[in-house]
């Protein structure tokens, strides 16, 4: 397997605050990789740094064989990388349909209808809500929209930052199921940040643990699930 995305020694700063301290991470083609860690560990920062906002201060980020470390965000996002950022960030006053269109805006594809149908097969709820304004959707529907919007550009690599945030267990299962289906059916590569460590590790092929801006553990999902320190720190009572 070749690495679709690889980070080596990536550091990132917010002003004087160092949020990433030399992160090494690889995502292979067709994999689901999950990143777990406590609040403030730097997970969202890592996602955003891959997208060039903030840019890595040192280290390198290589995607699909090319160095993207210094590219501006919009050029990175045009290379079939898509992100559903933390907090959903859908366009509140625009309709569901318009939100989805925005996802396809820069990919320059012609058969938007087909892609949108695929998104609707994944999230039938979105089709029912097509003319509703994004801001008036329920939290779970907004999360579906955020993922759907990211999928509209037909990405090779999908970055998901806490898709389960604030959602009912049933909806979380539904969304995780959708991610698995996508990965199996289309070979979509996924990098997933999750607080919901148990489900995320069960879903993922491999996982990384981020502590204070540095990777402290890596392994397959099953391996990490079996580690006592992980059970203690991230899985306490999660699957009683």
């Amino acid at each position: 397997m070749t690495a679709l995305l690889s980070l080596t020694g990536v550091t990132a700063f917010y002003g004087a605050i160092q949020a990433l301290r030399g992160v090494d991470l690889e995502v292979h083609e067709g994999e689901i990789v999950t990143l777990i860690g406590a609040n403030g560990a730097g997970k969202s920062t890592l996602m955003m740094t891959i997208c060039g906002n903030p840019q890595a201060r040192t280290g390198s980020i290589v995607y699909n064989g090319a160095d993207i470390t210094r590219l501006p965000t919009h050029l990175i996002m045009r290379q079939r990388i898509a992100q559903a950022p933390e907090g959903r960030r859908i366009f509140g006053r625009m309709t569901v349909y318009e939100n989805l269109l925005m996802g396809a805006e820069v990919s320059g594809q012609t058969d938007i209808g087909t892609v949108m149908e695929q998104v609707f097969t994944l999230f039938p709820r979105l089709k029912e809500r097509m003319t509703q304004r994004g801001g008036t959707l329920s939290g779970g529907e907004q999360q579906m929209l955020a993922i759907g919007r990211a999928l509209m550009s037909r990405p090779r690599l999908l970055l998901l930052d806490e898709p389960s945030l604030g959602l009912a267990p049933l909806v979380v299962r539904q969304i995780f199921g959708a991610i698995r289906d996508l990965n199996r059916a289309t070979g979509l590569t996924v990098l997933l940040v999750e607080q919901n460590a148990y489900q995320a590790l069960r879903l993922a092929h491999r996982g990384y643990v981020l502590v204070n801006g540095a990777i402290t553990m890596a392994g397959t999902g099953a391996e990490l699930l079996a580690r006592p320190e992980i059970r203690a720190a991230y899985l306490e009572g999660a699957h009683a």
């Binding site: 919009h74 990175i76 950022p85 006053r93 805006e105 938007i112 990211a150």
Partner: protein
Amino acid sequence: MTALKDAFLSAAVALGLFGPMVGLVTHNAAAGLDLVPNPIAVAVLVGMVFFGRLGMLLWRDRHQGRPQAPNKALAETLTKASRYLTPALLALAIALPFGGSRYYVDLGTLVLTYVMLGWGLNIVVGLAGLLDLGYVAFYAVGAYSYALLAEYFGFGFWICLPLAGILAAFCGILLGFPVLRLRGDYLAIVTLAFGEIIRVILINWVSLTHGPNGISDIPRPTLFGLSFSMDGGEGTFSDFFGIEPETIQRVIFLYYVILALALLTNWATIRLRRMPLGRAWEALREDEVACRSLGIDVTNTKLSAFAIGAMFGGFAGAFFATRQAFISPESFTFIESATVLAIVVLGGLGSQLGVALAALIMVGGLEMLRELLSWLAAQMDSPFFAGIAGELPTYRMLIFGLALVVMMVLRPRGLIAGRDATATLTKQQPVARETG
């Protein structure tokens, strides 16, 4: 009882405010200024506040439990009416000159100029969400572009119109670059400064712009080469059609020019909103980070909004110059920016019809109010009103400001607050083609 107490309190506040502001009038006397007391006007105002407040409280008491009802009813009426309002307004605009009144055609021209400015600024503020307090700068650039090109190179209006638009758009980009990282209040302050800078340059670059004296004898536009000069000679409009030359012909022609320009602005905005660029503007207004993460070039999107908004301001400026035949920096003060911004906000950020209605109210309504007040003053020639009648027209701004406040209370998000979707699935084919 509490209502009565509340009304008394309001009246007391009004007395404190209006006592010195309205009750004391300065008159030029032989030895400096004389202070003339004007108790009747104060009494009328305080009485109005008292009964207004009392009425409001009683009315609210009666409608308790459904305080939103009147507002909702108003919203529904407006939404329903808006479908018929657009064609009705358009028909009215086209038919206006046939009324034959020079006064109304002139007023219509003025209103349409502000409609156009409102629609232009709406692109920047309403769609892209970039608060611009210096829009008048582009209006000035357009006006001076035409005036100077005509003065130094003898170019006609129709050649200069696109040039004025391009120059204004260029200034828009010039403003856009330094403010790319700014949002909200900070953006507003810088754009405000930009508007002032342009005006100060116009005042001080005397060798080019004639400074405060302005530029006069700006040529009038022609209709396919036919001029509207009063001599009726060879190559004039009146000669070509074999009619007597009259000023009204030119006035009506100018009216239709600005109507066409305004409609062009409207058409372009509606088209742009349905294109990826326009949708990106609106998305930018909603969430900049999300836009970036979707691969949208935020820099270019912002600059294009500034440039295109400025371009329409430039067109309007060129028209202003040719209509007035005289411009000076005095025409491009902050109050113009504020008026246009008020039109956009009052109309309901982003709504085309709302902006047109707001311009009609802000410009046409204000003028009508002046007429009404003069007429009222003329009716009140009994000695009892002696103090007020003469002053009445000067209360125009006070009444108007009050009306605006009431309007914003009733419709806090503007006259037409709803946003039309730019794309629906039934129209999927054209949308897909445009996007691809």
